[in-house]
């Protein structure tokens, strides 16, 4: 009996690995294929069946991309969006989360319910009216529609996540500081924030990723200014008509350049990524 169950276990473990490896290949092939294509000549890309190893290895594709596309400008614009997004979430969202998690005031719970409801609301409901409003106050074709909401902490998901974490910090620490005459702002900055580094790291990563990925808003709100395009919009505009990609090698080189930073961030902070995702799901 024991022998049989041992054998059964070995068999099922083997089968598990088999399935997982097959799945891993499916997950990784698109990325490998992108990098491989980015290093090929256009002639080699057209060969059927496809060849995996670029021959010759065209590192010059990457140089050419910088010549054809204002990558540095796009990167600067993306960084404006990313940095304000990160700043707004780490500072403003953390302040707001502190208010919801660790202070009492009349109407607090009602306001928090309001915040949760915005979490569920489709963005499109606000897209058109916001366009109208931004148009009236002269914000169209500036960074303001992306920067101002972020800096004011209009990011219910990060507030929610940080609040969950703040609630877990023992109340006695705050009480002790209050007796010592520390203000609420002081408690937030000197006690709660230093103890919340993992949650802040997770939020930083999410905010970075979201800013890096932002596509629809820059597309809609900044369409008239080619010099304000972020990487995402720049990459989109490189592609040709529907379902086809001209200059595939350059396109894939720029795609690779756009993927590398987030993968590097993921490699550096994987623990916080997973922790952050977990924090969302379990308490959602």
């Amino acid at each position: 009996m024991a022998v049989r169950s041992h054998r059964a276990r070995l068999f099922s473990d083997g089968a598990t690995h088999l399935v997982l490896v097959a799945g891993s290949v499916i997950m990784l092939v698109p990325l490998a294929w992108t990098v491989s294509t980015s290093l090929k000549t256009l002639q080699q890309i057209a060969i059927w069946p496809p060849q995996w190893i670029p021959r010759p290895v065209m590192w010059s594709n990457y140089v050419e991309v910088f010549r054809r596309v204002p990558v540095a400008l796009y990167l600067r614009n993306t960084m404006v969006i990313v940095s304000t997004n990160v700043l707004g979430s780490v500072v403003t969202c953390a302040l707001v989360a502190y208010g919801f998690a660790r202070t009492q005031f009349p109407g607090r719970d009602a306001l928090f319910m309001l915040l949760l409801s915005t979490l569920m609301m489709p963005y499109v409901v606000r897209l058109i009216p916001l366009f109208v409003i931004y148009n009236q106050i002269g914000w169209i074709n500036t960074f303001l529609p992306l920067v101002v909401p972020a800096l004011l902490g209009r990011n219910p998901f990060y507030i929610f996540l940080l609040r969950q974490f703040f609630k877990g910090i023992p109340e006695e620490l705050s009480d002790a500081a209050r007796i010592d005459g520390c203000s609420e702002l002081g408690i937030w900055w000197r006690i709660v924030m230093p103890l919340s580094k993992p949650a802040l790291a997770a939020v930083t990563i999410f905010a970075f990723q979201a800013g890096w990925d932002d596509f629809l808003r820059p597309l809609v709100y900044m369409a008239g200014r080619t010099d304000l395009r972020p990487l995402s919009v720049g990459l989109y505009l490189l592609r040709g008509g529907a379902g086809q990609i001209p200059d595939t090698h350059y396109m894939m080189a720029l795609t690779t350049l756009m993927i590398i930073p987030v993968l590097a961030l993921f490699a550096a902070g994987q623990r916080y990524f997973i922790q952050g995702v977990t924090l969302t799901g379990l308490k959602g």
Partner: protein, 309 residues
């Protein structure tokens, strides 16, 4: 609207110093004030003005705006042939991508929850695609789906299966987008995995002693205890699938023959191609009501199938 910002900013920063009781009572509101301001400016006002604009023929071109009552809504439901096309396309996408996504992510999480070697590495690999920026991922998959150069057709040919014109055949364009969406299931997989790790081990041992098979343990123990996590992912999946935009916009632009004209694309076209903001606002209101109703219904049914310990 902007005139109000500095005032509230000052209220949050400066600390009025009447009685300490008053301060203690309201200091929390000062912390919340920036978000509250953002809520008023970027949520409340836009939603109300969106409702209002949905009853007008507002257009960005500068022609005077008139109040048209329910005309926009009537047009959507009765005269706009692409409206129902967009609705059915979106329902097709939701109907397949959400359940398949849940089953796939849950199954992978189950496999990764087994005590085998290399789970950390596997988890990293399966999560990896979901950090790839949407635009980049879509470009990558556009190339994979290409009829004559794409590796997907190469695999089909290798398996002696007929080649598919993924993005130019109306029958295959939606399945293509669903396949691509499955590639990014990593974050919901991680949420399931975290949930699975919270299932008490004793329950499995007890079930095993009672002679339950692996399948019985899955159906009798794991799935019931995981229903809150499944519920969460279902809600999020529905809300996101209703708003599917980037992938179709970049990959197919709504084609071929409007096969991937999803609701959001239809709305985008009216707003930013034909500049019919009033009509687009009405489309947004319809979507809002549908999402609200559907999530409310799912929420209602939840006490029948979601198990809260």
């Amino acid at each position: 609207m902007i005139g109000r910002m500095p005032v509230a900013g000052r209220a949050a920063a400066a600390r009025p110093r009447p009685s300490r009781g008053w301060l203690r009572r309201w200091v929390g509101l000062a912390f919340v004030a920036p978000w509250l301001l953002a809520f008023v400016a970027f949520d409340a006002i836009p939603i109300f003005s969106g409702f209002y604009h949905s009853f007008t023929d507002w257009s960005i071109t500068g022609s005077p705006t008139r109040f048209v009552g329910l005309a926009n809504y009537r047009e959507a439901f009765t005269r706009d042939p692409l409206f129902w096309k967009a609705v059915t396309n979106t329902l097709y996408y939701i109907g397949f991508s959400v359940p398949i996504g849940i089953v796939t992510a849950f199954s992978v999480a189950l496999l990764l929850n087994r005590r085998i070697r290399g789970t950390t590495l596997y988890r990293t690999i399966y999560y990896l695609p979901s950090v790839v920026p949407t635009v980049a991922a879509t470009i990558v998959w556009t190339f994979i789906f290409e009829t004559r150069r794409g590796i997907l057709n190469w695999v089909l040919e290798f398996l002696h299966l007929p080649i598919v014109r993924w993005l130019s055949d109306p029958a295959w364009a939606k399945p293509a987008l669903i396949i691509m969406s499955l590639w990014g299931m990593g974050s919901s997989m991680v949420i399931y995995l975290a949930g699975l790790q919270g299932v008490p081990q004793e329950l499995y041992e007890a079930a095993e002693i009672d002679g339950a098979s692996g399948w019985q343990r899955l159906v009798g123990v794991t799935v019931p205890l995981m229903t809150p996590t499944i519920f969460f992912n279902l809600m999020m999946g529905l809300i996101n699938a209703f708003q599917v935009f980037n992938s179709a916009f970049i990959m197919t632009g709504g084609g071929p023959f409007n096969a991937t004209l999803f609701y959001m694309l239809h709305l985008y076209n009216h707003a930013f191609r034909y500049f019919r903001m009033g009509y687009a606002a009405a489309l947004a209101v319809v979507l809002f009501v549908v999402v609200l109703t559907l999530t409310a219904i799912v929420n209602r049914t939840s006490d029948r199938w979601v198990y809260y310990s």
